[in-house]
């Protein structure tokens, strides 16, 4: 009885979580241009359109470029900072750790508006790279947290041994630290990549009037007429997101990572 009830509860929550995705997936297979469910006919036409329609393709490329570059910049900011905090005794540098976590804790509209006023004041408003910097700062929290966890799990006697044998800081980093930290670099990058791919408001406030990322394009399509392509894009996003997290789970310790991401100490 007890087992049955707990299974039932899990199943109900599972249905709640899956229902919208199931419906959207169904809609994306419609043969004609309508949003019927269950789908009428079967067609992969709307998926093809993401890659053949120049507007959707442009939005896809813009989104992927933004996510690839901003996640790289986020890691480039987080890695030296996390390494420094681990390697040195520097209480003052904790300030930067706090700054790195702050944008992610505040409501996103704050970061978005901060960047809007900043780029407007400095005269760079609308340049494509402004969104790259905005996303890198907004999502730097994720690589910072995964990397801090990664460094704290390194056994210091390993680096000590290397140093005793005569390796300098640079050699220790390259030959001992980097291989140990690499999985955390990858998962930090993956987190930032996925979130940047899906992010709407910061991208909209920085470059929304100049170019469209996929989330912006979907939102505009919602306003100005529905098409099953939106559903196909959503399915693509769900698939990519689930695949990335699946890979993180496959190659990393997801339960431990989650523990680190949500504990405040």
């Amino acid at each position: 009885m007890e087992r049955f009830l707990s299974r039932l509860y899990l199943a109900l929550v599972g249905i709640f979580l899956a229902a919208p995705i199931v419906v959207v997936t169904g809609v994306s297979f419609n043969e004609k241009q309508n949003l019927a469910f269950p789908p009428q006919g079967f067609s992969l036409h709307w998926f093809a359109q993401i890659f053949t329609d120049p507007e959707w393709l442009r939005a896809l490329i813009a989104s992927v470029l933004l996510a690839v570059t901003s996640a790289a910049l986020a890691v480039a900011i987080a890695l030296p900072l996390a390494w420094f905090l681990w390697r040195r005794v520097a209480p003052w540098a904790q300030v930067f750790q706090l700054l790195g976590v702050a944008p992610f804790t505040l409501p996103p509209v704050i970061t978005a508006l901060g960047f809007l006023t900043f780029w407007a004041t400095s005269g760079f408003y609308g340049q494509p790279w402004t969104a790259v910097i905005a996303h890198a700062i907004f999502f730097v929290t994720l690589p910072l947290v995964t990397l801090s966890l990664g460094f704290s799990s390194i056994d210091r006697s390993l680096t000590e041994a290397a140093a005793t044998m005569g390796a300098d800081d640079r050699t220790v980093f390259r030959t001992v630290v980097l291989p140990l930290i690499l999985p955390y670099v990858i998962s930090g990058y993956a987190f930032a990549f996925v979130l940047s791919l899906n992010e709407y408001i910061v991208a909209y406030m920085t470059i929304g009037f100049v170019r469209e990322t996929l989330p912006i394009k979907v939102f505009n399509a919602l306003r100005y007429g529905y098409t099953p392509t939106m559903a196909a894009v959503s399915v693509l996003f769900v698939a990519v997101t689930a695949a990335v997290f699946g890979l993180i789970a496959r190659f990393g310790d997801l339960p431990k990572l989650m523990g680190a991401l949500s504990s405040k100490d």
Binding site: P20, F37, I201, S262
Partner: protein, 283 residues
């Protein structure tokens, strides 16, 4: 290699780039926004440096007062409902096998990082007349004709709970996993039913986490921007929607900035409250 203080420029080198980036692109934009909130707006969408409090005074009008009250009310409702669903759910997955846990975590993370646009679109389809859940009820004979359930408050609430619930689970998860299983075992041995053990042992042991989760879900919901627009009517718009509207479409940057500063203050006050409540409960 022992940790030692950094000496000289070379040893400080690694911290310079991150420090510079975070200062220039977080502190400065934030400061710019705070400054602009005191600027005076000019005709045509521009603003000039000044020190006026008029932007803040505009909160006192009934319209913005209503929006603020509605935003807070919606965020509280979302946080409470999310927590009610998330607590038993997290408890159950934390006690399941590791492989099962990982699958649930992947699903939750995927939903959590999905774009608000896509969540909004998915729910507006699920609640629509043509493709929606009411068709299922008609098919089952429970309903006469399919109905549209959007736009409306229930739709906004459902969409936002869908988004915030995974977040609440992920905040609860570490504490639930770390919870000592002997606690419930002891309660069971002493004759408590599983439900009774859950309410009298598990929940009290986690009260600090529960409060923290509630407030974090509240802040998360407070920042929601797209769902009230996609799933609700203009009367369901939140402060975040209004901030964007003022900044981009009404070209009133100073007023938008003032509202944003206010939103930060509310969020910070709540975070401080959480920490304070946590300390008090632990003491």
């Amino acid at each position: 290699m022992r940790r030692e203080p950094a000496r000289g420029l070379v040893q400080h080198l690694p911290v310079i780039f991150p420090g510079l980036m975070l200062t220039v692109f977080f502190i400065v934009p934030f400061g710019t926004m705070v400054a602009v909130s005191f600027f005076r707006r000019q005709q045509g969408g521009f603003y000039v440096p000044d020190f006026v409090l008029a932007n803040y005074a505009r909160f006192l009008t009934p319209f913005f007062g209503n929006v603020l009250v509605f935003s807070l009310y919606l965020a509280i409702a979302v946080a409470v409902v999310s927590l009610i669903i998330a607590v038993p759910f997290t408890y159950l997955i934390a006690r399941s096998r590791r492989q099962t846990q990982v699958i649930w975590l992947v699903a939750l993370l995927s939903i959590l990082s999905l774009s608000e646009v896509i969540i909004g679109f998915a729910w507006s389809t699920l609640l629509s007349r043509t493709a929606g859940i009411t068709n299922l009820l008609v098919w089952l004979g429970l309903m006469e004709a399919p109905q549209a359930l959007v736009p409306g408050f229930a739709a906004v609430l459902t969409g936002m709970v869908y988004q915030a619930m995974p977040y609440a689970v992920l905040v609860l998860y570490p504490s639930m996993v770390r919870l000592d299983p002997t606690l419930t075992e002891a309660a069971r041995t002493l004759g408590a039913s599983p439900l009774r053990a859950f309410f009298t042992v598990v929940l009290p042991a986690l009260r600090t986490t529960l409060i923290a989760t509630l407030i974090m879900a509240f802040i998360f919901a407070l920042g929601s921007y797209l769902l009230p627009q996609i799933l609700g009517r203009p009367s369901h718009w939140t402060l975040s929607v209004l901030i964007t509207d003022q900044a981009l479409y009404q070209s009133n940057m100073p007023f938008a900035a003032a509202m944003a500063v206010f939103l930060v203050l509310v969020s910070l006050a709540l975070v401080a409250l959480t920490m304070f409540a946590g300390k008090k409960l632990e003491a």
